[in-house]
Structures are given as C-alpha cells and as structure tokens.
Symmetry: D2
C-alpha cells in the first residue's frame, strides 16, 4: 500500500473519530461497545483500536463474550473500509454477507485488548475485511472475517 | 431423534427457562438480548425462541444488527446443547471454537424473529450447533454455526 | 416451497444430469468427484446426491478428505441453485464469495454418503446455499455453507 | 516468534519436503495438488508454497477452482502446524474441526500463486491456522482458516 502523508493520516483519524461519535449517539446495538474503543493506529484501509474488557462485556467465565468479539469483527471491519476514503463524513453503504470468528484464547475481564482490522480487497460489489483481536501479551484472542456487499448510492 | 415424553419436555423447558433467568441476572454482555427472547418450541437438542426486534438491537439501517444476530447464534446454540440433558441446573461447560453467520435478509425494527437452534452432533470433545433466524414470513434472515469445545468438569 | 408437477421434476432431473455430464467432460478440478455422484432426490432448489467414498477421495486416516468435502459443498451448492430454474442448459453464472465447512464425523473409505444441498435464498445479487453430508446411518459428517455472487449475463 | 538458527531452518525444510513426498506417494485426494506445490519460504509455524495454476485445477471460468483453494487451506494449514516441531517424520495427528474460505479475486490458469500458511495458536487440544493465497501481483486471491483438534498419540 502506498504511503500516506501526515495530512491524509490526520484526515482519516478525524473521519473515523467523527463516525464513531455519531454512531455512539445513535444509541443502537453496538453503542456500548463503540463507546469503549479508542483508535490507536491507522492508515488507509487498516485500523487498530484498543479496548478495556469491562465486566459488562464478559460471559459467565469472566472473559470477553464471543458475541462481543463477533460484534467487534462486524463493526471494526466496517471502520477499516471507511478508512480507505478520507473524505469527511461520506461512507459507501454496505450490508453484511458473512461474519466468521475463530476463538483462540480468552481475554480476561479488566485486561486490555487490541482490535486490528484490515480491508484487504475492495471490489466494485464486494468488500473483504479481516480482524484480529490480541491481548496485551500480543497473543491472538480471535481472528475473524467480515464480508460486505456494496449498495450503490453514497451516504 | 427418539420421542420424548411430555414429562421430559416439561423438564427441558423448566431447565432452559431457569438458566435464562439466572443468566439475565448475571447482567453480562448477552443480558439485554436474553431478556427479550421467549422459548416457543423445544425438544431434546433443539429449541426455538421468538424475539421482538427492539430499536436498541438495530443498526443504522433500522434492522437487526449483525452483531446481535451473531450473539444469538452463540447463546442459543449453547441453549440447544443444554436441552440435551434435562437434569435441572447442570450444564457441561464449554468454550467457543468458532462462530460463523451468513446474512441472507434483514429483519426490520419492531418485527418478530424466530431463532431455531439445533445441536446436530455432541462428541466427547466437540459439540456442533446450527442456528437459523427467520422472520415472520418464514424467510431466512441468517444461518449460522457455533462449534464448542467441552471442558471436563460439570458445573 | 410450492409443489412441483411430475413434469417439472423430470425437467429438473434432466437438466442437472445434463450439466453433470457436460462438466465431467470439461475434465477440470471437480471432474473426478462429479463422476462419482448420483442424483437420488430433488425438487426446486434442493438436491440429494449419493456417493461412494472411493479410496482416492480419502486422507491418511482412510476417511473422506476434508478438501473433498469442501469441494462437494462448493459444487453441489451450485447444483441446488441450478435446480431452481428447470429451463434446459441455462445457468445463471455466479462466483464464490465464501465457503465454510464444519466437520462433525468422519466417513470411512468404501462407505456411502448422501450430500444434501439446498438454496435457501436467491437474491438479485447474492445466492445462499447450505449443504449437509450424511453417512449411511443418517449421522452428520459435515455441514457447510456456500455463498455466491451473481454475474449479470445468462450462460 | 524467536529467531531460528540456519540449522533449525534446514531441519524444518527437510521435514516438510519429506512429508510432502511421502503424502504424494499415498496417492490420495490431495496427491495431485501436493505434487504441484514447492516450498519457497518457511520458519517455525509459517510456510509459503508456490504453485502453478495448471488447467486441471481450474473451474469452468478458467480460474483456480474454489474447491482446490479450500483443499490448499486444509493441507497447507497442516504443513504450518508440522513446521512447529523440526523433529524428522513425527507429526501430532489431528482432525479438522472447520475450514472457511473467503474468495476475493480469481487466479487465472497458468499463473503462479503463493500460498502462505501460518499457525497462530497451538493449544493442547485445538490448533488454529490461517492461509492466504496471493497471485503474482501480491493481491489476495483468498483468505481461509483451518482449525484442528489434536489427537493424543504421536505418529
């Protein structure tokens, strides 16, 4: 991938932070998760967010719930897609075709996880993303894929 | 699958409803979803829950969020496993190996969906479930799989 | 799904058998597998093929190879799609978006398996299929999904 | 991952090449594919093979068959696992739990592809691998996962 200028990188961050804030305001299913994540690294097509594993994100084993991990694969895959175009506020609307997640290790309550999402193919109709959640020892918690179908009109 | 007596079926329902209530009380990641589902059909290894698509379960298109669907595939797959053994309150603890979901149609806000989960293979180490979410026209909203690894001690 | 007349069912069988023969003739990656399967049950959108687990389809454990199972999920998912329209020889061309397979049991060499494929959603752009391979005791060997993207021109 | 000495790397290559030759000799489902791949890069837990897209590996569009790609995700994920332990000829036997593949681009007949497989988690019971097939322009053809369950006795 070609190098971006610092100005472009700043625009990507501004856009992603703006979308995040807007979505938290929508107060929908992902609002609680979105309110906990923080962009720590980014470039065109690729983002890393950090998140604290708060107790209300856990399962009965006291570790990050598999459904929360799947929702992160869903939402942050979309963020990776939006990072491809730094134009403020525009998004190419798309719908989910599939999500899959492989659970390799658990992330205990109150630990920090890092969610790496990457858009590795942006076709005219289909967009492909992959997401890896790692714990603070850089071990893989899960790896997931999220494939989306592009709707035609820009939003 | 062999037929169950009405008494066995009653015990399965009692067990599942008891687990549901207990888990809602844990107030963890799935509590909000769990508080919205209602067991409408069940037998050994197979459950159907109904759910209203409340606004707080939606995405920005006003339809059931893909992450909520994945969480239902996760949690109700586990319920299908627990329905295999009607003994009250006991569960064989297990952890997720993978979840995958294919999104076929959307389920609009305020509609009713039916979540069908089925455990089609219970091995010594691995348990396999499949889940189909349907809308009220009996169309498939999504189909998903949830595979779990069995931990040895009963809870 | 609405009932089909016997005449329609005959046309579907004729079409599927014709496509199978044609493809075996192409002598491509799936030719060997295709030459071993036999249509035993069918309706609009749904097919069942039987197959003998010949030694050359096995892995080093002497059971049906996971790659052969994945290829069956691929190819027979497409057959289920083609069974939707009984018009002879026409197919709506489409390309694979994803395939996933969960391996529940093994199918030993020289046993018979039954491959059930079903197209549960035919959208304008995306088509969704599910496939279950069962052994001769009606146990699940694997369950898989195959999602395809529809190309516009008919072939 | 810690650096390996040149001697260790040589032992890994010798082991993998030996297993490949042995398996081709078994003449089973994957023998044809295995006879076409060549190890071009490797370290502990990670391998890259190159392969020419021969006509008999293609589909009716003249590109690498989705079933062949899934079989590569299966087999080379196992090779990545075997590369973890350089001891000659020993393998920890394991069986497939799931395979999933996302198809991003096609690889035309007679082009060269590079298959990158990586074992990112080796647990006591479960082993997780990911595989990316790239074309000669370094674009992603597909990304897949292969999860295996470890059988206890060494072979």
């Amino acid at each position: 991938m070609e190098k971006q200028t610092q100005e472009e990188l700043n625009k990507i961050k501004e856009k992603l932070d703006g979308l995040l804030e807007k979505w938290i305001g929508f107060n929908q299913y992902d609002a609680n998760l979105l309110s906990k994540i923080k962009l720590v690294k980014w470039e065109k097509g690729s983002v890393v967010y950090s998140m604290n594993v708060d107790p209300e994100l856990c399962n009965m084993f006291g570790t990050l719930h598999g459904g929360a991990q799947a929702t992160l694969v869903d939402v942050l895959g979309s963020m990776a897609i939006f990072s491809l175009d730094p134009t403020p506020n525009t998004i190419v609307p798309s719908v989910s075709v599939e999500i899959s997640v492989n659970y390799a290790s658990s992330a205990p309550r109150d630990s920090t996880v890092y969610i790496h999402s990457n858009c590795y193919k942006q076709g005219k109709n289909l967009v492909f993303t992959e997401t890896t959640i790692k714990n603070d020892k850089d071990e893989v918690v899960c790896k997931g894929s999220h494939t989306k179908f592009v709707l035609k009109s820009k939003m």
